[in-house]
Every structure is written in C-alpha cells, then in structure tokens.
Subunit: 192 residues, 2 copies
C-alpha cells in the first residue's frame, strides 16, 4: 500500500463494522487480482491459466483515512477470497517492513492463517474470529485463506513501517501452504 499518499488527519471517529467487514469513513482501496501475484505461486503455469481465465480478484484491502506516514497508526481490512491454484491456497503477496516495526491482525470472519518468516525460521498462527496475530519487527508476513468462505481481518500498523514486496520475491516465505486431503500441507518454499 505504498501507493497511497495522504495528508495527516485530525482526531476522528471511525466506524468498524465487524459483521460487514467495513471501516467508515473509508480511505483508499486496493484490489489484487491474480495477475498482480506474478512469481508467487509455486505452479506458474496454473497461475497463468488463472490469469487468462478471468483474472479473478484474490484479495482486497480497504483502509481508513489515517495515512501511511511516519508517526500515524493506520488501519485496514483485508478480505481474501477462498480458492486454490494448483492446490496452493489463495494468499496475499506478503511483505516485510523495511522500517522494522510490529503489526497486529485481528480476524473478524472466516478462517485464515498468518505465515511469518524472519529469513530463517517460519511461524504459523491459525486465525479465527477473535484471534489477534502478532507480527514482531523483522518478521515478513503473508495471510492465507484456509477456509471455504472469505477470510477478513483488521490490520493495525505503524504508518512509517513501509511495505517491501520484493523481499518476499527474493527470500520467499520459508514455506508454502497447500490444501491437503486431511488439512493443510506445509511444504518448503525452495522446492517450488
């Protein structure tokens, strides 16, 4: 969301409707289609076929008006659609904060997971409504929908943390998460 820019905001009230998955007033909205996720799925041919076959929306991010600038504390709601591409569960691009700072995700609906990677170790937090997933500074993070319904969470993050998506393309996320016959299959990223 480094695409965003805005001026500082005054003290304000933001309506957080957990049932509807909305913030009001709204700020910028980001929509990620399959074509925006180039180089991230293990099976690049299946990815290209999905792009050719309607290029579906994989996830969207709706922000509050609080801007992504240093010292502010913006919020957003991400909704990931359910789905798989060659068995790999639909996910966000994942990013590292170039200015290492902590972040929280609060699950509001659906069933997801939070994959974290510090360049060496991988951690997984199962996300159901009411779970706060904590990402300490220095841990890259990706969200994954592991259920059959849309998965939504509220993110709160320091506005000056930044988003480095290239870090994940270069380093991976340690593991990939596939839909298995009896649950989730975690496979090493480098085997992709």
């Amino acid at each position: 969301m480094s695409e965003y820019s805005a001026l500082p905001v005054p003290p304000m009230s933001i309506r957080f409707d957990q049932g509807a998955g909305t913030l009001s007033p709204e700020g910028p909205t980001l929509t990620r289609r399959m074509s925006d996720l180039e180089g991230l799925f293990r099976d690049s041919e299946a990815w290209a076929a999905a792009v050719a076959d309607g290029d579906p929306i994989v996830y969207s991010v709706v922000s509050s008006p609080v801007p992504e600038i240093d010292r502010e504390l913006p919020q957003s709601i991400t909704t990931i659609q359910p789905g798989t591409t060659a068995g790999e569960l639909w996910m966000t691009k994942g990013h590292q904060h170039p200015n290492h700072q902590g972040e929280i995700y609060l699950c509001i609906s659906g069933h997801g997971g939070l994959l974290m990677f510090d360049g060496t170790e991988t951690r997984w937090v199962d996300m159901t409504p009411g779970t706060i997933g904590y990402m300490p500074p220095g841990w890259a993070h990706r969200s994954i929908n592991v259920g059959d319904e849309p998965y939504s969470f509220l993110a709160v993050y320091p506005g000056g943390a930044g988003h480095d998506y290239g870090w994940v393309l270069e380093h991976g996320m340690g593991q990939r998460v596939l839909a298995g016959a009896d649950g989730l299959d975690f496979v090493n990223y480098v085997e992709g």
Copy 2:
C-alpha cells in the same frame, strides 16, 4: 504503563474475547484507584472524601504480553467503572506520548468518550461498541465513562510512544466532562 518492562516476544497468537473484555495470554495488569488520581478531579475535597471512603477502583488496564518498547505494537484493554465525583465523570488519568505517535482505541462495551487536547484545541469522540477513536500524534488523550455500565476499549499503540502523565497535570485537558441533567456538560478545565 511506563512501569512495565519485558523482553521482546516471538510471533504469537493472542485471544481477544470482546464479550469478556479479555486478552489471553495476559501480560501486566494495572489498577488505578481513586488515590492514584490525585490532582485530576475539579473538586479536590470530594476526591479526598472518595479516597477516604474505600478508595474505589476507577479503572484497570490489562495488557497482552507484547512489551512497551520501541518498534513493538502492544495492546491493552482498559475498563473504566461508572461513577462521578462531585458530578465529574470517572476517567483515566490521561497522558501525552512524549514520543509523538498515533494510537487507536476500539470500544468493545459500554458507553464512553475520548477527550483529546493538543494544548490549544479540544476534541471529543463518542465511543460505543464498534467505534475506533483515532488519536493523532501530539494529541493528549483521556477516556471517560459516560454511561451506567463499565466502559471497555482495546488500545493499540506503538511501544516506544511512552506515557507522560505529568503533561496533563501541567496543561490540563482543555475541558472537563460532567454529568448534566440532560446529558454531558463540558466545562473549561481552567475553571476548576
């Protein structure tokens, strides 16, 4: 909560039970009795009488294990009991962040208000369940229970922001909030 100290934490899952108003696992808990609020109520004699008459708990703050250190993003749940002291609604001490950074409060139960003061201007955000009150950097803030039930909110704030309680003793909060016959009465702080 500058009393707290702890080591950094790994990636973790925190259960946020909005009905019960709890975070699990829990970190430090802070309890503020009437005697901890010296110099803050307009009527110091009524304050002293309340201290003498059982020194009631005015509010408590339960934190998650995420520590209050730079680059982390801790969370806490504050619960303010309903009550008045010489008509002035029960409230938190209020503080300024010496390292100016934004903060959010999410109301989870009861009816409260968020009073903000930048040294010149005052702002008020009415807080009901689902309201996110946004405190931009540089605005001192105090929470006030304006209802008949306990008022609880989740706070998310940068761990390095700090808490300067002396700022409020020196500068006030611009206004005081009293229980009026037909709602809230806002009076100038300096008239106290």
